[in-house]
Structures are given as structure tokens and as C-alpha cells.
């Protein structure tokens, strides 16, 4: 009986209407200018930062740049822009890394380094808190 009660609770919770606080986005997704990327659907951005999607539509590799897990800016980006929990992103990466079925994103130590790498690397995508105006980087709007 216990078991069915527990399963019933889980199903109810799962199907319950979603009520998620839409926190104000604090970050912008940035990409290397070669991609000419201006818009991205939210779920596609989630697939990219989860490392499930690893090719751009033209077949070239996606290079994902992130700050460390415990970096406050990283946590804010994941929660306010991707609207996910940082530990869920990490769980996806771990599954790919430690089962040999995918690779980890490239970790950088600071936002300055992130901006530099994304501007220099074709196919690169990352995020920043700053409003950037640069010829090497495009700011990507989520839709």
C-alpha cells in the first residue's frame, strides 16, 4: 500500500501545473560572431549547455564555455536564464563524461576569460553579465 501511495504522490507532483518564479534574467548568452546567431529557443539553449546538442546546424562543433560550478555568476545564469538548477546541468555533464558518451564544457575562471575565449573560438557559446558591444561576439536573445 505504501508503495502505491508514494507513486501516487510522485505522479501528482509531476503532473501538477508548473509554477516557477520567472526571475529577472541577469545574464546574456554570447556567441562567436562567425555563427551569426541572434536568437535561440530556450530549450535549444538548455540542450547546448547540457552538452546533449554538440553540433551547429552546419555540422560544425559547438564549443560551450562555462564558469566553475561554485561561481555565483554561473549559478545565476543557470537559474535565471536557463531556468534550471545548476546541479541538474552538472548531472547531465557527469553522465556524458563518465560513461564515455559525451564531453564536458570548457571551464574558464573569469568572465573576462569567457569573453576572450568566445570571441576567439569559432563555434563558441558562453554567457556574461555585461552588455557587450563587439565585432567578435554576438549577444543571443532567447525566445
Amino acid at each position: 500500500m505504501n508503495r502505491w501511495f508514494a507513486i501516487a504522490i510522485l505522479i501528482t507532483l509531476t503532473l501538477a501545473p508548473q509554477e516557477r518564479s520567472q526571475a529577472q534574467a541577469t545574464h546574456h548568452i554570447i556567441s562567436n560572431a562567425n555563427l551569426e546567431l541572434t536568437h535561440l529557443p530556450l530549450n535549444k539553449a538548455r540542450s547546448i549547455f547540457s552538452m546533449r546538442l554538440h553540433k551547429w546546424p552546419d555540422g560544425s562543433p559547438i564549443r560551450v564555455y562555462v564558469l566553475p560550478d561554485d561561481n555565483a555568476s554561473h549559478r545565476q545564469f543557470v537559474q535565471s536564464v536557463l531556468r534550471m538548477f545548476p546541479h541538474q546541468l552538472r548531472r547531465n555533464w557527469d553522465r556524458y563524461i563518465y560513461t564515455g558518451t559525451g564531453q564536458a564544457p570548457i571551464e574558464v575562471d573569469s568572465e573576462a576569460e569567457m569573453i576572450k575565449q568566445v570571441s576567439l573560438t569559432p563555434g563558441a557559446i558562453g554567457y556574461t553579465q555585461q552588455e557587450l558591444v563587439s565585432n567578435d561576439i554576438h549577444t543571443v536573445q532567447l525566445r
Partner: protein, 411 residues
């Protein structure tokens, strides 16, 4: 379910494992090389060494029980609870990745000594769009099963130090963890949901300890013609708020008696079905999995012998993230080995028929590299107690406590 380990069986067992391993590695390498050549020809692209990645982890645990032995002489306190893994992956082309990981594992007598090849595979991602994906894997691959099977050695991926033993039985780890064969994976995204399908077919790794658990008694012969398939269908919200999965796995092997053997030729078959659910709400997570397992023996224990029984297990757990570093867990995990004999009246040791485990634990994760955790299990029943570490002569107690702590580091 209780057995004593004879040193003779152990000795011959390790020889057999060695011969088998060499053969297996050769077959694996052949498979891998041929698939690589084929795929490389299909999409020739320049090799990019910047796509090489390395990873590794070290887990060291301590286990103390008040009664019974789990991973070494835990009644006195055991440190025989170590995992060390090191691996690399490389993108040969935009669609083709090769990866390998070596694993050293020490878990009392339940795991084979020495370094094992944990996985070695080629992964070809044929379709990789935002909405649809399809790919193939070949080599030694991890089996898709439940929420935790593939990542069970990664401390940070587990909710607790010991996974729910009723479903992720450590004594049967080798049998269900990997297969030498091929796998297929696919995903499809609709609106906010993602459907993924993973399947693997191949030959499982069966060592002497696993064989003893599978056959319930140490037998001098060997299991041959082992086959395994595992599949999982998972539906999840893109945000990761909830996920539901259904997994099915089946392992099958024939028993070949030794020259001097009381056992006769026969077959052992084990089928598992698991329903998995998880829900995340703010800092809370609630999850549960329900397992049905059917084991069938034909022959082995006598000509015309035929036995089939069903096991039933589930766990439900909740965890709370106090902050980004601290996490608390509470779990109830229950197993009946034979649903028609829950009290174990037909078992040599009745408590081997069931296990009810209340677990509470704390985790401290200062950053993504370090994890320190501790947990306490209050257990009634000995169904998943490794028989290889607990002979009948050792008084087996049906009510026992298990404390474990672990430090993990990874890169």
C-alpha cells in the same frame, strides 16, 4: 542465499576470469577497430587534438556495522571501499567520439581485485539536432538502467554513498553494469519535454563472486554464453523539473559443470523491470524507483529442475539542499526476494528473504571537485548482504546498523 567461499573455487575462478578477459578484450578491440575504420571512412575529417579530454576520480570510504559484514570486516571498521577511475575521450570527427576508462575498485570481497577496463567505446552520433537525435555505440558500454546504473561509481552523481541496495545490488554490480556489444540511443523533443531511448545488447561481465550470487551457491563450473540486454525509455521536462523512466533488462547464461561437479548443465535467467520517478521543487527533490525481478533456473541444481521466483523492491527518498554546499537525505528502501515467501520460511536464513533500510545522510560539497559525505542505515533483513562476506558460521543478525563516510575527489 548463504554460501561459503572455498579457496579452490576462488583460485580456479580467477584463472577463468583471466582467460575470459583476454578473449573479451581481443574481441572488443576488433569490434572497436572495425567500427572506427568504417566510420572514419564514412566521414573523413582532420583529427583535432584539442578535442581530447581527460577525467578521473578517487573515492575512499569507511564502513562500520554493528553486526554482519559489508565491504570487508566492517564490524571492526573497514576501509576496503575504494574507487579510482581514470579516463579519456576524444572527438575523432564532429560525430565520432572514442572514450575509455580504467577502474580500480575495492569493495570487500564483492569486487574483483585489480584494474578493470570499465568502458572502451566508439560513439557515433548520426543525427544531432535540437529536436531529434540518433546514435550508435560499440565496445564495452554502460547499460542504461534506472536513474543511476551508468553513473553508480561517481560519488557526486549519487544521492547517497550507497545507492539503494535493493535495486542497485552491489553484489550483482558486474552483471548489470556494462556489456561488451552494441548500443543505440535516440531522443525527440516536444515543447517542454524530452523523450530519450537507450538500449544495449552484448555480453555481460560475470566474475566468480557475481556467479555465486546469481546461482545462490558456489558451484565449480562456469557460466557460458552470457547475454544481456538493457533498455530505458525516459521522459523528462527540459528544465529537469521532473523525469519518469521505464527500464527493462535481461541477463541469461548457461551453466557448464566442471569435471567434478554436483551441479548439472542448465540455464539461469534474470529479468528486471524498473519504474523511476523524480520531482524537483525548489531545494527539495523527491524520487523513487520500483523494481520487479524474475529469476528462473532450469537444470543446474538437478536434471529437470525448474525454479522461478519474483522479487519486488522499491525505494522512496527525499533530499533537501540546505544551501549550495550542504544536502540532507532521507530514504526508505525495501526488498522482498521472493514475493511468495516474504518472511523467508523456505530460506536457510529467513532474514535473507527481505531487507528494509531507513537511511539518512549528509553531504558537503565545497566545490565541484570535492565531496564529503556520511550516512547511517538502519536495516532489518539481510537480503542484499553479500553472502560471499557472510558465512552461515558467522552469526548473521537480521537487525543491524551500517554507518559509512566517504571523501571523493575528481577532475
Amino acid at each position: 542465499m548463504i554460501s561459503t567461499q572455498s579457496s579452490c573455487a576462488k583460485f580456479s575462478g580467477s584463472n577463468i576470469i583471466l582467460c575470459r578477459k583476454t578473449r573479451r578484450h581481443r574481441a572488443l578491440l576488433g569490434l572497436l577497430l572495425s567500427s572506427l575504420t568504417c566510420l572514419a571512412q564514412a566521414q573523413a575529417a582532420p583529427f583535432d587534438s584539442s578535442k581530447m579530454q581527460f577525467h578521473g576520480f578517487v573515492n575512499q570510504g569507511y564502513i562500520k556495522t554493528d553486526e554482519n559484514k559489508f565491504f570487508g570486516d566492517s564490524e571492526k571498521g573497514s576501509w576496503e571501499f575504494t574507487d579510482i577511475g581514470i579516463g579519456a575521450s576524444s572527438k575523432l570527427t564532429n560525430s565520432l567520439q572514442v572514450s575509455a576508462q580504467a577502474l580500480y575498485r575495492r569493495a570487500g570481497k564483492t569486487s574483483p581485485d585489480g584494474i578493470q577496463l570499465d568502458y572502451l567505446l566508439a560513439d557515433w552520433s548520426a543525427i544531432n539536432n535540437a529536436d531529434t537525435g540518433l546514435g550508435l555505440r560499440a565496445g564495452r558500454i554502460k547499460n542504461p538502467f534506472g536513474f543511476h546504473n551508468e553513473t553508480r561509481d561517481i560519488a557526486a552523481s549519487r544521492p547517497s554513498i550507497l545507492l539503494p541496495e535493493s535495486i542497485y545490488v552491489d553484489a550483482l554490480r558486474e552483471l548489470f553494469h556494462t556489456a561488451d556489444g552494441v548500443g543505440l540511443y535516440a531522443y525527440k523533443s516536444w515543447n517542454n519535454t524530452l523523450l530519450t531511448f537507450d538500449t544495449a545488447f552484448g555480453k555481460p561481465s560475470i566474475n566468480r563472486a557475481t556467479q555465486d550470487v546469481l546461482l545462490t551457491v558456489p558451484a565449480p563450473g562456469t557460466l557460458v554464453d552470457e547475454k544481456l540486454n538493457a533498455s530505458r525509455l525516459m521522459l523528462e521536462e527540459h528544465s529537469g523539473r521532473w523525469r519518469i523512466a521505464y527500464s527493462h533488462a535481461e541477463a541469461d547464461a548457461d551453466y557448464q559443470p566442471a569435471t567434478v561437479d554436483l551441479a548439472v548443465p542448465g540455464n539461469a535467467n534474470i529479468k528486471l523491470d524498473v519504474l523511476s520517478l523524480e520531482y524537483n521543487w525548489n531545494n527539495w527533490q523527491i524520487s523513487g524507483e520500483h523494481l520487479r525481478r524474475k529469476i528462473t533456473y532450469q537444470g543446474i541444481f538437478g536434471d529437470g529442475f525448474n525454479l522461478s521466483f519474483k522479487s519486488d523492491a522499491y525505494y522512496i527518498q527525499t533530499s533537501y539542499r540546505v544551501n549550495q554546499q550542504w544536502q540532507w537525505l532521507l530514504r526508505y528502501d525495501r526488498l522482498y526476494v521472493n514475493t511468495e515467501d516474504k518472511a523467508g520460511e523456505s530460506f536457510t536464513t529467513p532474514s535473507d528473504a527481505y531487507a528494509k533500510d531507513w537511511t539518512t545522510g549528509l553531504r558537503f560539497q565545497p566545490n565541484s571537485q570535492w565531496l564529503i559525505s556520511a550516512e547511517l542505515h538502519q536495516i532489518n533483513g539481510t537480503a542484499w548482504l553479500p553472502s560471499i562476506e557472510n558465512s552461515i558460521a558467522n552469526n548473521i543478525n537480521s537487525d543491524w546498523l551500517l554507518f559509512t563516510a566517504q571523501v571523493s575527489w575528481r577532475f
